[in-house]
Symmetry: C2
Subunit: 359 residues, 2 copies
């Protein structure tokens, strides 16, 4: 019996539509290889939604997403909306959809392919073989705590609350242990327990949940120390779990270790199988419309969707393998090409990946 | 007429006393070269104070510090006190003295000496010539905002408040512009203004203060982007200013770019000339008492004291130059020695620096 999955597609802004188009080609290739049918439902998020619907997150988009099995997002944002008030900014749509769909678990793999080591700012011996996963809490903490702004006799005051409920910590930590168990069985929990009360609760919950995962080696690390160690010797890390703001910073630092964020995917998961998948890179307005963006990150995001939302591990591996094969063979888009090499277009890169899937 | 300065010396824990001893030898050498007299007043902070006085920050220490012109600190902490309750932990003493003495401006230089490039995890072309300064707000934000911890029917809740008053932002930003003006005249202000209310106020104040420094080029950058850019191309940065928690993370990341935190000093300044000076590295309990710790960071911290608290620019430069000369000549303590080189002791390193000052 053939399976059917509905995917809400949010091309977004800038290079978003271009890279999404190619990821969809790859998914259509998967349909031919596996007994599966995908239905694509297009909707708007971010700048294009502000222009078209007057809000970065239209209700219709949320409704479509809720009726679907997963969401595939390109990228949002651009200079056009940069000076808008907060409620009319693209990233407000992104934060809104995370919260509305309960996407609390952000999975950010950072891996170094052998054929790409020269792109990194780090020495070859430091980055060769790096393969880590940052798991960031995505719907709590400073991002969603109470914000205040008021005037006093001595000028203005502004505040944000970093707040965590035990259950919010517990669910992300469990997810992280589950992921670590399927990877290198080493989990680093990052906090600032020597200063923050929320970190002390975080650490307590981690220690409690750890009892259910005796096969996973657990380490606590302070966020400042982690920021150092990530770049001193990244290979010491397997899976990292941390709260929202620390995760924002550390996952980006970890991405940049590889030197090629044009290749890194992400998943933002809710309870159950539902998730939103998007490349780590932004909307890159400077190269939008030129057909030269690197579609790899979005294609690998689609592979994460196959794995985490649809349980199609084999197809996910096939896509990943095809990507590695094409990169190994020296095919490069402009962002990762050495100056003298010839760079391929967005479409050519995807075509080569699809061809490799059929080999 | 000879000048006299009183220095409160806090050797602290672990390797603290060893590196402090050598920094004091260097200061005594300065006394011989310049028309100045230093009076050293010893006091306790951190673990040694917990053991001796039952508190990490004895009142007597604060009184001595207040009566002096500057404070020189070794390092605090160690496994012995790691499981103590918060009020009996060494770092509580550190946070306490920062707040009590109004040390709101933390200056953290990160520089790459040519002769040290091989120690870095980054490629030579990326780090050669790196010379940046992270200026971290040190007495506000999440560190000192209200903390809560309570139980509900659904488990525990914990929170920390990230709060900034306009005047707190203004004074650190002014300081940063002043520092940038004496450096490369480029200031990067780091925040998360697309998410945090406190960052929006931060950015507003920065833009206002910037009018008084038209000669300094200002850029705003988001913290996640800065964490990436620091390791992609650190030479784009000259002076960075940011709030307390972001500064904790980014200053440590910036330090590690150089690969040798055994060499990096710091200054924590109050209004006026008063400051506390300490190496960036910790108390390194594993090598304490062996006489092999690198005293360079503490010696360079003493040089910052000469410059920022005593206005002795020439003497500060002499110390810095002597340090560079000795390192250039290949002298290495164990932490920065290549395996086959012979490492010198803490005392030998300081002796060589003092000898170079007299050349
Ligand atoms: C755009 C911004 C609000 C967002 C975040 O901080 O979460 C982005 O940096 C990310 O990591 O997805
Ligand atoms: C020990 C700790 C509380 C402290 C901080 O976070 O400020 C340290 O990391 C530092 O940077 O001086």
């Amino acid at each position: 019996m053939s399976q059917t999955f509905t995917i809400t597609v949010l091309p977004g802004d800038g290079i978003g539509p271009e890279v999404i188009e190619q990821a969809i080609h790859v998914l259509k290739a998967v349909e031919k290889l596996e007994d599966v049918t995908f239905t694509f439902e297009y909707a708007r998020l971010g700048g294009c939604a502000i222009d078209e619907d007057g809000t970065p997150l239209p209700e219709e988009t949320l409704e479509k997403a809720r009726r679907s099995d997963a969401v595939l997002l390109g990228a949002v944002g651009g200079p056009k909306w940069d000076n808008n008030p907060a409620h009319l900014r693209p990233e407000t749509g992104l934060l809104g959809i995370r919260k509305a769909l309960g996407l609390y678990a952000n999975l950010r793999p950072a891996f170094m392919l052998d054929c790409m080591v020269e792109v990194s700012a780090l020495k070859e011996e430091v980055v060769r073989g790096v393969d880590l996963m940052v798991i960031r809490e995505l719907t709590g903490g400073l991002y969603f705590g109470e914000k205040k702004r008021y005037k006093t006799e001595n000028g203005e005051v502004a505040s944000d609350e970093l707040i965590y409920h035990e259950y919010e910590i517990e669910r992300i930590v469990r997810r992280a242990f589950e992921v670590a168990r399927l990877r290198g069985k080493k989990l680093t929990s990052v906090d600032k327990a020597n200063v923050l009360e929320s970190s002390r609760l975080w650490r307590k919950v981690v220690d409690r949940v750890a009892h259910d995962y005796p096969d996973v080696e657990l380490r606590h690390q302070l966020v400042d120390s982690c920021a150092m160690e990530l770049l001193r010797w990244p290979k010491q890390f397997d899976t990292i779990v941390t709260e929202n703001m620390f995760g924002d910073i550390l996952s980006d630092e970890a991405s940049m270790l590889t030197g090629s964020i044009g290749m890194l995917p992400s998943a933002s998961l809710a309870d159950g199988n539902f998730g939103l998948y998007e490349p780590v890179h932004g909307s890159a307005p400077d190269i939008a419309g030129k057909g030269i963006a690197n579609p790899t990150a979005t294609i690998l995001s689609a592979a994460m969707m196959l794995k985490y939302s649809f349980g199609m591990e084999r197809a996910a591996n096939a896509v990943e393998k095809a990507v590695h094969k094409v990169l190994n063979s020296g095919v490069r888009t402009a962002d990762i090409a050495k100056s003298k090499e010839e760079a391929v277009s967005t479409k050519e890169m995807a075509d080569k990946i699809i061809a490799a899937m059929h080999e």
